[in-house]
Symmetry: C2
Subunit: 160 residues, 2 copies
């Protein structure tokens, strides 16, 4: 049976994000999965995700790292509690800070692999480190401090 | 006479970037201008640039800061040499690193103002600090280390 992506567990009213919402028809709709202690997301940039000819736009690299790491934070928080991702209460994370080091230009026209690993879980704060690779070569390295979403920001199901 | 945006000086073969290329019909096409010692870019997010309902997707915030800051780096490098941006040789920058602190959720449905200021110019490296504000309130703060593009990456005009 196919493993379900983290983002497929998000309830409908939290599935509109441009980066990872499965209901955003204009968005990137990234999908993240466990691979042992790491998480992985493979993304196929479109030709228009260009920086200069032949290379991927840095904002996309940052966006992939951002959304994959907040998804990883959520998955790790459930795993730390020994819970499935579709159990109540929901745990959803937003980005507190994002750092990306661009190590080499990211080639356009090949799939990109984002791999992440939790560095620290402390209360409502999860620190996640990530790499973005193309054809086995690391092109960017990132770190996201993800923070559990304040309850007042989580929309009621009826609102959306 | 209307001030020309930094990105309008970029030659055609360097104007395909998803974030700031004026020739990328799918892209954000941001426009950056001098405002004294600072630079400013105003951007109107689309409804689909959503994170959770009512708020802007963090990857867009990061992308705006990234492209506005690399544009600022280029403009500052020309200014430091006392040159107009359409004079030869061209100075074009890529992102070495990007850091964004998300201070509060960025509201969706209002224009966003990105303001940047050069912190340091040292050789081929320009450090740029930025804020992103909505309705006068700073929502995110960022820093970009921009690096002058290596000559071998700059495409020949004939290639594109």
């Amino acid at each position: 049976m196919r493993q379900k992506a983290f983002q497929e567990y998000y309830p409908d009213h939290l599935s509109h994000c441009y980066g990872c919402g499965r209901l955003n028809e204009y968005g990137l709709q990234i999908k993240s999965y466990w691979d042992g202690e790491e998480t992985v997301c493979t993304f196929y940039p479109k030709p228009y995700h260009i920086a200069i000819p032949g290379y991927v736009y840095g904002g996309l690299v940052a966006s992939l790292i951002d959304c994959h790491c907040t998804g990883t934070a959520a998955a790790a928080a459930y795993r730390a509690e020994g819970r499935e991702m579709d159990t109540e209460p929901p745990l959803r994370f937003v980005t507190g800070s994002l750092h990306v080091d661009f190590l080499r230009p990211t080639p356009l026209g090949v799939p990109l692999d984002v791999r992440a690993r939790v560095k620290e879980i402390k209360g409502r704060r999860v620190v996640v480190g990530a790499t973005l690779s193309a054809q086995g070569e690391v092109c960017a390295r990132g770190e996201v401090v993800a923070v559990q979403m304040p309850e007042h920001l989580v929309p009621d199901k009826g609102e959306v």
